[in-house]
């Protein structure tokens, strides 16, 4: 049998120290014949691990996409990568509104693609990115491309994880006590939305909005009147929710924009056409009509402070709803008017906008390149390569009021393992 690993480790540690020591000693030595000017002698170093800032307003969080784990964090202001949240490609992620934690709803197996299935919500702190806790849950849907499968309550105390196994349900998790609370059956509905003071709401296949009151031990499910057709003109699952105004904005395949006011019995305003808001003909659901239509992955983003919604639009026939955006349309919700149309050089699939006073738009394409635009002028600020092909997230923090700008420079944390 091979030498026990512990023995080796002990030996290696001594060897490493030995070499480090020897090398350090040599550093003070004068080199035999320096062939070039020698400004300073270079000092031996130790390998360390850095800490990082908590979520910043202009950071983007980009999912890897199919088969590629990790959520890479880039600074929109500099284009630099700041770190990475550890998750599998099957995960859903969420950012604590207080900026203290990253949450990962994930599914893994004990033996790669076989063995025992394990579903859980993992909690990582945001400055050391260390795993703080793992809360087992009964299940979690395995699908990519939807932001509404893992949502947090406005105060960050509760998480709702959508599950489909293939029964439809929602797993409720107490993030304060770090405990699974209960599974709530939710047949025929999905695509979750926070509902402050109540629990959550969800879109249903009968065209209604379900509202689940989770404040009682026995959750109560109520339904709005049907307001859309789930087969003739579906609403995209990736809606956007505005906690400052307690409202949710939806868009349908044909381009109808709906606004729901959240509450125990949400009210849904009559929709309007985003195309008509841009002065072009209304979207049609029948074939052979080519028009501007919404499409892509996470195709819509809202800047809450200003009430502007940015939508990826492409030219096509109905049922082309996965086609990436050829333009970004800037919709002013208050005016019900598309105030700007920004053509793009090549199609992009996902969009997000930062929540500060000088917001940035992030869009990414299938090559994994992020383009950063000034949300006001639509001017391209930079291009960041190899960010990821998946959905983009931003922390729901603005400047200066709510931004957790811990500007103290992160102190390097020396690794507990002695460097060489």
């Amino acid at each position: 049998m091979t030498v026990a690993a512990s023995t080796w480790r002990a030996l290696l540690a001594s060897a490493a120290i030995l070499v480090a020591g020897a090398a350090s000693a040599q550093v003070t030595e004068t080199p035999p014949a320096p062939p070039q000017p020698q400004p300073t002698e270079l000092k031996a170093e130790e390998a360390t691990t850095l800490t990082m800032l908590p979520p910043q307003p202009q950071w983007e969080y980009v999912r890897g996409g199919y088969g590629l784990g990790g959520t890479r964090i880039f600074d929109g202001a500099t284009g630099k990568m700041r770190g990475e949240v550890d998750n599998s490609s099957r995960a859903d992620i969420a950012i604590d509104p207080a900026g203290k934690y990253y949450y990962v709803a994930d599914t893994i197996w004990t033996k790669s693609d076989r063995g025992t299935r394990q579903d859980f919500v993992a909690i990582y702190d945001t400055t050391q990115l260390k795993l703080q806790a793992e809360i087992p849950i009964p299940g979690h849907i395995i699908v990519g491309g939807f932001k509404t499968n893992f949502i947090l309550s406005d105060d960050g105390s509760t998480a709702y994880v959508y599950n489909y196994d293939p029964a439809s349900s929602v797993n409720m998790v107490d993030l304060v006590r770090r405990k699974f609370v209960r599974a709530i059956e939710l047949p025929g509905c999905a695509s979750l939305i926070p509902n402050p003071g109540v629990g959550f709401s969800a879109l249903c296949s009968d065209g209604s909005l379900a509202t689940v009151d989770t404040t009682a031990a026995k959750p109560k499910i109520t339904h709005s009147a049907p307001f859309f057709s789930a087969t003739a003109d579906p609403i995209f699952s990736n809606s956007v929710y505005d906690k400052t105004k307690k409202r949710t904005i939806f868009i349908s395949y044909s381009g109808l924009v709906y606004e729901a006011t959240m509450g125990p019995a949400p009210s849904i305003a009559p929709p309007f056409s985003i195309q008509e808001a841009a002065g072009v003909p209304k979207g049609e659901t029948r074939p052979l009509v080519v028009n501007w239509l919404p499409g892509g992955g996470a195709l819509m983003a809202m800047h809450k402070l200003s009430g502007h919604v940015f939508v990826l639009m492409h030219k096509g026939e109905f049922w082309s709803h996965k086609e990436g955006g050829d333009e970004i349309w800037d919709l002013d919700l208050a005016q019900r008017k598309v105030v700007k149309r920004r053509p793009l050089k090549s199609p992009v699939n996902n969009i997000e906008v930062t929540q500060d006073a000088a917001p940035l738009i992030f869009v990414n394409d299938k090559e994994g390149t992020t383009y950063v635009l000034d949300a006001k002028t639509m001017e391209e600020k930079r291009k960041i390569e190899k960010t990821g092909q998946g959905m983009i997230y931003v922390a729901d923090v603005g400047t200066p009021a709510t931004a957790p700008l811990a500007e103290a420079a992160p102190k390097p944390t020396p690794s507990t393992i002695t460097g060489g």
Partner: protein, 181 residues
Amino acid sequence: MDSSKADVIGERLLRRFAGSSSRRGLLTKLGAVLVAAPAFPLLPVSRAEAQKPDRSVEAKTSFARSAQTKDDTKCDYWRYCAIDGSLCSCCGGAVNACPAGAQPSPISWVGTCINPDQGKAYLIAYRDCCGKPACGQCGCDNTDRETQLYLQQLNNNIIWCFGTSSMEYHCSTAVLVGAAQ
């Protein structure tokens, strides 16, 4: 810096995960029965369509107008009107069979596709083959009548590997279930 892991696993397959969308069907009915949620039709054809099965050129989607019936290793093969993923017929399997070592999911999302030789609509079950790494060949993503997560059986993004020993996605078949009406 221009190489391509994606070339290996297929651009459109990537979109199954990266993109966004959905489907509807058999199970939602069951959900309704069990918990008295709103009911919808058993067959994944909208009620309007079911009442008036218009298969004329004008009623056909862009996919249906150019679909073919000869080559099931191409994305425009008629049965693939709502498929998303690698075609099993390119992976050592067949249009209705998994490659050796992969398990077909007993349930699936469904599509309603028109056979252009007959002008007739058929119900197609897109059974994922599961339990080994992605095949990566012939990635297709067609979206006729494909809806969102609240109509799961009409959503083609979900990894439909239920009741198999592993949920790892390998490829997708297009199994003919029967006439749509």
